[in-house]
């Protein structure tokens, strides 16, 4: 899932042609956020991007302070009010125990969001480090690490996540770790490519001629230049991780109920086909979040 969408998505970015998207090569470090540049970014903030930021902001707010958004208890319901369709009192309806589904979604957000963040952090740190070392040290180290990444890529990432989570135990945090492990290869790949690109650029040669040592080249030139692509990948992976963790929760490899992770809510909801809102409400929230995150990632790629 991850591999191709990253390696190819760059060219799929809509209007600004691929050439301009990639055109901010190594030189972009020099461009500071001047007034004209800020205006450029604002001009490119299309409604869809603004909407995406708004969705993500709401989701983050839900995960930080769920009680501000709902007065219902996510775990205790009014049994008499079971299976109520969505209404003004219960925006997303109620489930078989009369619990407010909106409250369950809002209270489940923190777990879904933090586990996706954990997954991205693992992929970013481990994969970034592997890619950095491979690209920067080169030689035999690069060959060995590149094989390692090939091996990780050869195992279907969802299968890898399932194997890791079954070895660690069925908990949401372990599902997050497993998702992170399955994302290591993609980060390593992108980081290595960025490092190689920057290292071969003229300004790094110039820095070396001027007497910069390897550490200075690394911290002053290579990392700042690579951070852009890696950040954009991290945002994309955040969306993907939400989907993968939801998939693991759906299969029952996360925390059991009464936890209310989004994937788990959908999984439990599917057992009540006569109350479709139990599936659709958490599903729409999940899709809207991932769609927004992907839109922001694409926007990051085209903004320079």
């Amino acid at each position: 899932m991850t591999l191709t969408s990253i390696s190819t998505g760059g060219e799929a970015a809509p209007p600004p042609a691929p050439a301009t998207a990639a055109g901010g090569g190594p030189q972009r470090r020099g461009t500071r956020l001047g007034p004209s540049r800020a205006r450029g970014i604002l001009a490119r903030l299309r409604p869809s991007v603004l909407l995406s930021f708004a969705v993500v902001a709401v989701v983050l707010a839900w995960s930080v302070a769920p009680t501000l958004f709902t007065s219902y208890d996510p775990a205790v319901g009014v049994t008499a009010d079971f299976f109520q369709p969505p209404s003004a009192a219960h925006w997303f309806g109620t489930d078989h125990l009369g619990r407010d589904v909106y409250a369950r979604v809002v209270h489940g957000t923190a777990s879904s969001v933090t586990s996706a963040l954990v997954a991205v952090a693992i992929g970013l740190l481990v994969g970034g480090f592997v890619g950095l070392v491979a690209g920067f040290v080169g030689g035999l180290v690069d060959v060995v690490l590149a094989r390692f990444v090939d091996v990780l890529l050869a195992i279907p990432s969802f299968l890898l996540a399932v194997v890791v989570v079954s070895a660690l135990g069925f908990e949401t945090i372990n599902a997050a770790i497993a998702t992170g492990v399955s994302a290591v290869a993609v980060f390593a790949r992108v980081m290595r490519a960025e490092v190689l690109r920057t290292r071969s650029s003229v300004f790094v040669e110039a820095a070396a001629v001027l007497g910069a040592n390897r550490w200075q080249v690394l911290t002053r030139h290579v990392l700042p230049n690579a951070s852009r692509s890696v950040l954009q990948l991290a945002v994309l992976q955040f969306g993907l991780s939400i989907l993968v963790i939801a998939g693991l929760a759906f299969l029952g490899y996360g925390d059991p109920p009464p936890a209310s992770d989004w994937g788990l809510l959908i999984s439990v909801g599917k057992d009540y086909p006569l109350a479709p809102w139990l599936v659709y409400a958490p599903a729409i929230v999940t899709v809207a979040t991932v769609l927004s995150v992907n839109r922001i990632s694409r926007w990051l790629r085209t903004t320079d």
């Binding site: 091996v151 050869a154 279907p156 399932v162 194997v163 939801a246 998939g247």
Partner: protein, 332 residues
């Protein structure tokens, strides 16, 4: 004269490339096996003895001793690894801890179902991707613009959700297929749609990007200036150079087809490899898990190897003798 030497040089270059890719593929499969072995054995917990000592399983002492000896569980881990690897190399995938049957037999039972599903899903994905790409380039702008967002939308939907919605609509409401008859033609088709939609998004993204790129080339401008219509330009000029790279992308999506079948098979109640994985995870049947991962890696590596070897033959723009860097770009 010079053209024949060029050709034989190109053939030699292709031979060298093929041998190198083959060696790489073998190495990756073996290392994938080692990696999975280490993940399973190094992580905490001792599922094997948990399973063997589980009184519900009714293993006799002799059976336990036999299985322990077979897997070398009393040996240090690297000895176990070497033994497992030497069995794997000759095609022995081990014995299931639960059923005490050879894993290869268990896999052979469920593999056809998964291959049918994955094959059908790939077909769905290709049809869908080409349809989207055709629409994006040929429909009037008000229709084409939203169509461009489809791949992105497909990639944002959890694939279990697509399966659930399809079952809800087409099985429960329209009664087109019965969920209990999971292997029937229509049930397989809808399962393939659920699995194929996210895959189609990846193919469509590449296809659309390639088409956009080709449409900006000079030959396309020339063709347009000759008065060629949009649809004709698409079919006669843009389609072929744009769809060749799809071979490589399709090979890369194999991993997702296999991984995604885990969820799709669960939802549609199919008895395939994904279902076997689920059962093995639930019962901690590690030899089965190990074998499935190895098999998946073999399939992925072989398909990508074939794609990489066939691609230079399909696409005359790829020249292997020019520089090794070019081939790398193609296989990447």
């Amino acid at each position: 004269m010079s053209s024949t030497t060029n050709r034989s040089a190109a053939r030699r270059a292709y031979g060298r490339y093929a041998v190198r890719r083959l060696a790489q593929a073998v190495a990756v499969v073996l290392l994938a096996y080692v990696f999975t072995f280490l993940v399973i054995s190094v992580l905490p917990g001792d599922p094997v003895s948990n399973v063997l000592r589980d009184p519900q399983n009714n293993f006799s002492e002799q059976e336990i001793a036999r299985i322990v000896a077979y897997y070398g569980l009393d040996q240090p881990i690297w000895v176990q690894l070497v033994e497992a690897l030497s069995r794997f190399v000759v095609g022995d995938l081990g014995v299931s801890l639960r059923s005490n049957l050879p894993v290869s037999g268990l896999l052979a039972d469920v593999l056809p179902s998964t291959l049918r599903l994955a094959g059908a899903a790939l077909a769905v994905a290709l049809v869908l991707a080409f349809a989207i790409a055709f629409g994006v380039r040929n429909l009037p702008a008000p229709l084409a613009r939203p169509l461009r967002a489809f791949p992105s939308l497909f990639l944002s939907v959890p694939n279990f959700l697509i399966g659930l919605v399809l079952i809800q609509w087409f099985s429960f409401q329209l009664g087109l297929f019965l969920v209990i008859d999971a292997e029937s033609l229509l049930a397989t088709f809808f399962a393939a749609v659920a699995l194929g939609i996210p895959v189609s998004a990846q193919i469509a993204e590449v296809l659309i990007a390639n088409l956009d790129h080709e449409a900006r080339q000079e030959y396309a401008a020339v063709a347009r200036s000759r008065g060629l219509g949009r649809a004709r330009l698409f079919t006669a000029h843009l389609l072929k150079p744009s769809s060749l790279p799809v071979v490589t992308v399709v090979a890369l999506t194999v991993g997702e087809l296999l991984g995604g079948s885990l969820i799709t098979e669960t939802i549609f109640g199919r008895n395939g490899v994904g279902n076997l994985v689920q059962r093995s995870v639930a019962t901690q049947d590690l030899p089965v898990l190990q074998a499935v991962v190895a098999l998946a890696a073999v399939v992925f590596v072989v398909v990508n190897l074939v794609a990489d070897l066939v691609y230079p033959l399909l696409d005359p723009r790829v020249r292997l003798d020019a520089s090794p860097a070019r081939t790398k770009e193609v296989s990447a």
